[in-house]
């Protein structure tokens, strides 16, 4: 009779016990495993289980994963960032334009990161300096930057001919591993260590958990939030580079809708939407779960309407069986 959730008038008031095996906390892993197994059995012979296909899943998940890692920080700190998609496109265009202009890859990447950091900085300053809700700031920013993206090249795509760039950020391999997978695993590993084992990570969680108490404990909560937005801007920039490398082209419409997918990955992974609790590994598995479902359902031959229905149902079920939040 382990982990019976305690309730107050029907409300769960406590997380399940920390003793014993708390399988609900690991639901995203279980679900991911179950989905993988299901596809392996049903469509394993249709190519699902091949290494290239599994790499495909990882590759297609890379941008969501990178953005979701930073989003885990933002959400853990009690905020949201909806501007990541259009920021990714902005960085993609900036990088491509700089490279096209002949300044080389390093300049392109630097400029792209600069663009992402700038958006993050503005988001962060508005949210912390003026204390306005990040949902709205970043919603406005999402729209503003998308307009900028369109304007920048009059919606024309910008091809990138630099094969080193395209290799590193998109099509290449490192020791036989697709570079997109390398990037996302690197982002996940770094994010995990920072959130879990460094003072900054602690400050993020405390800020999201109780801003006032964190401030009384001497944490600079505004600075902490600002850093989270910078991180998110940088991650969006990296995602933009990955989009560009993968497609050898930058386009103004990259990343449309990626914010919701990333947030879904974060929350599926077990991070609380209300801040104070976050897990990067969970986020990654959440992103992989989404990617695997999308891939597997196509291979199963479901049409688009069925794909939507099944993917939607799986998200609901995954959380339904998942850990009940303490709040």
């Amino acid at each position: 009779m382990q982990s019976k959730a305690e309730t107050i008038g029907g409300l769960p008031v406590r997380a399940p016990r920390l003793t014993g095996f708390d399988w609900r906390g690991y639901i995203v892993y279980l679900f991911f495993t179950a989905v993988l197994l299901f596809f392996a059995v049903t469509i394993g012979d249709k190519g699902f289980l091949t290494v290239p296909n599994l790499f495909n899943i990882a590759r297609n998940t890379a941008m969501i994963a990178v953005i979701a890692v930073a989003m885990t920080f933002v959400i853990s700190a009690g905020e949201l960032d909806l501007s990541v998609g259009s920021t990714a496109a902005l960085s993609a265009l900036v990088a491509a334009l700089v490279i096209q202009a002949g300044f080389g890859m390093v300049a392109g990447v630097t400029a792209a990161l600069g663009a992402g950091l700038l958006v993050g900085l503005v988001n962060g300053l508005f949210v912390t300096g003026l204390a306005i809700p990040s949902f709205l700031v970043t919603l406005g920013m999402m729209q503003f930057v998308r307009g900028l993206d369109m304007r920048l090249t009059y919606t024309n795509p910008v091809p990138v001919a630099d094969n080193t760039f395209n290799g590193i950020f998109g099509k290449g391999y490192l020791f036989g591993i697709p570079s997109l997978l390398v990037w996302s695993v690197a982002a996940v590993a770094l994010g995990h260590v920072v959130l879990r084992y460094t003072p900054f990570g602690r400050q993020v969680l405390a800020t999201g958990g109780n801003r006032v108490a964190a401030a009384y404990s001497g944490i600079r909560v505004n600075r902490t939030k600002l850093y989270c937005f910078l991180l998110s801007g940088a991650a969006a920039a990296l995602a933009g580079l990955l989009f560009t490398g993968m497609m050898s082209t930058a386009r103004y419409n990259y990343g449309t809708g990626i914010e919701l997918a990333a947030i879904a990955a974060v929350i599926l992974g077990g991070t609380s939407l209300f801040g104070g609790r976050g897990t990067i590994i969970g986020t990654f598995v959440g992103a992989l779960l989404i990617g695997t479902i999308n891939n597997g359902l196509i291979i199963m031959g479901l049409d688009v309407s069925e794909q939507n229905m099944v993917a939607g149902a799986i998200i609901i079920l995954a959380v339904a069986f998942g850990k009940k939040p303490a709040r």
Partner: protein, 494 residues
């Protein structure tokens, strides 16, 4: 006299951890019955079962001679049971009046009648001697005012049984006095009251009977006249334990460095032209009525409030803003443990590490092991009742949460320690331990500023007492001048 209600052999576990073990409690009509016990003994839990907030695992509840089952707060309300919750049940985003009448609002033709609610709320509050605007949002109120609103909310229900869970913990002397006369008045109207408190004096003053709980079980029930303070302490804490709150004179070297200098401090709110100093090793008490500005002074020193004029210096260096204050070694134990003191959904060791991140970091990484060890030390030293350092602090009893807030800051070994109402909700055993610990800290060279509305505690610790009235420092009492609580009492009235 007949029993209005009886709780018989109540059992309750959270997850698999038993909190109540065959706990029994009887309440007669028209009596004031004290419920006492150490932090985490199960008092609040037992009373929450009586109000339907929790459901019991075993045992029975007899009300008015009939056995009843409560499936929620509404059932209890129907029986006429109301409770003043220790962890307030207020909605921060609603007004005082809306909170007081939440879920039993006055109506006019099916619609809410806020004007009537405000009128009635003003009436109840003025009976309580409070000057709180019924239209103010609760989130703008001080803890003391929230406590009053919580009390008013319970009173507004015209209950037959009123449970008060540490109602005076955030109140001043004067407010507590008003509350006591109210309790007597209610009693004379035949209302039965369960009164939970850690303050011995008030228990002896207003209660007819006392039940002591220990480890989830009722350990003793007696009439107030038939029991001594020492007997109560032993019932709560065990044989041979002494909980003494006596001042012990400590020689403070005349050459000790001056740690804190506050010079002509005037704030945007309340505080006007305050000047004082504290030397290393000295414990200075700050006394005053509610809203006299004590918290403001504390927060200003810690850099949380804007200073209009004047200066705060620590070790001779001017300090402004939290960053500088923290760098200078100032620590503030804030007055509201839930909103200011703790990240409730985090574990104890995470909370412990928070203000001490630098100390618990080696290289790039936080040393969780060390944090856990520190937490375990604190659990032992402050006798914190918990399953362990990993337990989410929001699930602990109020007093135990307060001990963690203290532990968190003591761990810091500050140069200047400011304590704002440090023992709210802490049981007598722990309180005397705390006094001991604070003395030790002072002896090690820390300057201490204590704000407390509890005279006993203030007197037990302070080497000197500053008296604040309406934002101005009106008196400075040397130790010799304050032999009794009366002296302090008079000083505070201004």
């Amino acid at each position: 006299m007949t029993n209005l209600l009886e709780l018989r052999d109540i059992e309750k576990s959270f997850a698999t951890i038993p909190v109540l073990r065959r706990a029994s409690f009887e309440l007669r009509s028209g009596e004031v019955h004290a419920l006492m016990g150490g932090n985490g003994a199960g008092k609040s839990t037992l009373m929450k079962i009586l109000t339907g907030v929790y459901t019991k695992d075993g045992g029975s509840l007899v009300f008015d001679g009939r056995e009843v089952e409560l499936s929620g707060p509404r059932d209890a309300e129907r029986l006429g049971i109301a409770m003043i919750f220790q962890e307030f049940s207020l909605i921060p985003t609603l007004t005082v009046a809306q909170n007081i009448f939440l879920h039993h609002e006055p109506r006019a033709g099916g619609f809410l009648n806020d004007a009537e609610a405000e009128r009635r709320a003003a009436g109840i509050l003025s009976d309580l001697g409070e000057d709180i605007d019924p239209r103010a949002l609760v989130e703008t109120l001080s803890v003391g005012a929230c406590q009053m609103v919580e009390i008013a909310k319970a009173l507004s229900k015209n209950a037959r049984v009123l449970i008060m869970d540490e109602p005076t913990s955030s109140l001043s002397e004067a407010e507590a006095r008003t509350l006591f006369s109210l309790v007597r008045k209610l009693k004379s109207e035949g209302i039965s009251i369960v009164y939970i408190s850690h303050r011995m004096a008030e228990i002896f003053e207003i209660c007819d009977r006392i039940t002591v709980m220990r480890d989830g079980h009722d350990a003793l029930t007696r009439s107030t006249g038939e029991v001594t303070m020492q007997q109560l302490i032993e019932a709560m804490l065990g044989e041979g334990v002494e909980a003494s709150m006596q001042y012990q004179a400590r020689p403070i070297s005349a050459t000790a460095a001056t740690v804190l200098e506050v010079e002509n401090l005037t704030l945007e709110e309340k505080v006007v032209d305050a000047s004082f100093t504290i030397r290393a090793g000295e414990i200075v008490g700050l006394a005053g009525l509610t809203a006299s500005g004590r918290t403001e002074i504390a927060e200003a020193i810690f850099g949380l409030r804007r200073i209009r004029s004047g200066e705060v210096r620590v070790d001779g260096k001017p300090v402004r803003g939290t960053d500088q204050a923290i760098a200078a070694g100032v620590a503030l134990v804030p007055e509201n443990r839930r909103t200011q003191g703790l990240v409730l959904e985090h574990s104890m060791h995470d909370n412990m590490v928070l203000p001490n991140l630098a100390r618990f970091t080696r290289g790039l990484f936080v040393r969780d092991g060390a944090g856990r060890r520190a937490a375990n030390d604190a659990i032992a030293r402050l006798k914190i009742r918990t399953d362990g350092p990993d337990k989410v602090v929001g699930l602990l009893s109020g007093g135990n949460q307060q001990k963690i807030v203290l532990a968190k800051w003591l761990e810091r070994r500050p140069r200047l320690l400011i304590l704002d109402e440090p023992t709210i909700g802490v049981d007598i055993g722990a309180k005397s331990d705390l006094v001991e610990i604070i003395r030790e800290i002072a002896e090690a060279g820390t300057a201490v500023l204590v704000i407390s509305s509890e005279f006993e505690e203030l007197l037990a610790m302070s080497d000197r007492v500053l008296v604040l009235h309406d934002g101005r420092l009106i008196k400075e009492l040397e130790r010799e001048e304050i032999a009794t609580e009366e002296v302090l009492h008079h000083a505070i009235q201004g």
